[in-house]
Amino acid sequence: MDELVIARSLFGMTMGVHIIYATLGVGIPLMVLVAELMYQKTKDKDYALMANRWTKGFAVLLGVAIPTGTIAGVQLSLLWPGFMEVVGRVIALPFQIEIYAFFLEALFMSIYVYAADRLSPLMRIVSVTLVAFGASASAILITNVHAFEGTPAGFEIVDGKFVNVDPWEAFFNPSFIVTAGHVTVSALMTGAFVIASIAAYKMIRQRGNTREYKFHHKALMMGLVIGGIFSVLTALNGHESAQQLYQYQPEKLAAAEGLFETQSYAPLAIGGYTDKEEREVKWAIEVPWALSFLSDDAFDTEVLGLEEWPEEEWPPLFVHTLFNAMVGIGSLLMLLSIVGFTWYKLLKRREFPRWLMWTFIAAGPLAITAIEFGWIFACTGRQPWIIYHVMKTEEAVTTSGNIGLLFVLFLIVYIILMISTVLVLRYYFNRNPISEELH
């Protein structure tokens, strides 16, 4: 049991680190692409410069995204050999296709970065589009395996063996489209808000109508508009995801909402924490009937409570807080881009008030936090199962031992990588300040 917790912590740590880089690896290429397109359309050199600088940052991030992704890929087999044996038989396709997407991304990333001066404008756009496509496709395909873990399909179990395998049915498992959509649009949203954060931070450090200020202002607006669009899409898709939980993983929904008793006209608990002893959510704001309506578009929908399952099959109850935090941040970000857009475009104010600037600065880190909460919710909310109602996580874990030592080693390497990323990015952008490149 202890080894299981350490193995889960180790893999969770890997994913927690990787997901930051991977999310930005999906989100930033889209911003680069939009900037490239804006440049071709407006011929405003600022946009070309943005694309150029973001690519430099992106290349550094990718330099960590790729090795941490490699670690995640290999660690799956090392830590969860029992799980990967099933994956190999049933759901190998997404991993395999992801390799092709990965090749596409790596090839054209190198081309876009190291051959930039030799590419025609069209090939620049084609290259960055393929990088963006490769990155998104990788994310979607890996999410496909995650979706399979929640809604397994495409096989039968006879005498403990996986037979009648239909790999494409496993691939198009019920929650694939919605889950992959959620990961993609939320990553695109996060990339945009991170760009907006940086731009806002640069603006606040030098007020006034300088050339540099205008540059960052354009970047901020681009981040807010794209972030806004994708936060709305994330919310719409999030609603869809919740309805799928209702349909396919009811105990996960019950844990997310802290619902113990099966009921129709179920209330929605916002905030608070789930008390296991007293079987209720404490300090929450309850919206009557809302959960039933959200689950299946009718107030009399019966929502199953945790009491339907034996306690050892309950997901950890803290997922309620993670779920709330994710939804809360998502809503806040949506609101933020609407306010920003209205202020600038509709009220025609040239400058944002200081408090609003500070919330813009917080947007990027908040978006990343929401991504982390979302992933932890999605994965711990599935526990104790590694494949929902098919295989328990404890059955899949390695029997090797010594994982504690590895945990420490990986922790050290991740700390080195994260600190170095920040140092390298700071060093590069301090040495190549925007003020120089603008002239």
């Binding site: 090795p67 670690i71 660690q75 087999s77 990967m84 090839l107 090797s400 990986f410 170095s420």
Partner: protein, 343 residues
Amino acid sequence: MSEAFYAITLIWGLVFIYAVMATIDFGAGFWSMIYLNRNNTKATNIANRYLSPSWEVTNVFIVAIVVALFSFFPGATFTLGTVLLIPGSLIILLLALRSAFLVFSHSASENYKRILTLISGITGFLIPALLICVLPITHGGYIQTTNGVERLLLSELFTSPSVYAFMAFAISSTLFLSSLLLSDYSNVSADQEAYQTYRRDAILVGPISLAMAGLLVLTIRNEAPWLYEELMDYVPWLTGSIVTFAIGYLALFIPRKTGIGIPRLAMISVVTQYLLASYAYGSAHLPYIVYPNVTIETGFTDPATFRALIVTYIVAFFILTPGFIYFWRLFLKDKRYLKQNES
């Protein structure tokens, strides 16, 4: 020919491509460390110019191998995943450090570049040494099964002369192949100084790598007689491998109008040398993936999954090949890239 045989051939192909690309990649990192302190900037620049665009693509191959292995042979994954926890984790940790710092060094200052080059140089020979340990582990004798639980005998592994022969072979091959490629690369870039440097290195390391290969076969004879016996059925292939080595080595001494040696011929012959030798080794290893527990038949995936995977391989081949060709032309053929003066 069974489906499992096609699958293992495909994996062998991927491993071979990775082995060649990675040895060059790791070796280039090593050489750029060696020449950092000797004011031989041209040789360092050549190594870096090759490394910068290629490492990401090389890195994808290792993931491709892992994915192909667990997709085609999930049964083998269970055993390999269990016993390789420690060595495998060390490899990916070193790989992560190396890859990240390779990218960082591109954006960092000269002061940092020394440390970064050091990291890429040291990992450049540690990683191949660790990677090759997977081979002796699959030969049997290092895995203990108690109550159905498989465990790697680490102390037996690292006290066995065979493992060190493999490591010496991996390191010397890394240096040999990479110095050959870099000599060819600097020759195409018309950089005579760097060419002479790498040609000299190749001449130096070449015989060592061959001697290590011989030593390795001898240790196999002692530690894995089953493999040695099978290997002796492939003597013609091994002989061919030695002949192609000789051709490649001699090609470095053929006089030309502009200098001495034909590095392109040397490179191609030596890759052929490794191709022949690894074909012999791979065939002798069959049907075992991990001796004696896992064969290609017992570890094989579901037939439906196999067929679906093959379809994706074929589709991907047609989609990705133009990308690889474009990449090749931009970085390995384009004179504008090759002849630039700064790295």
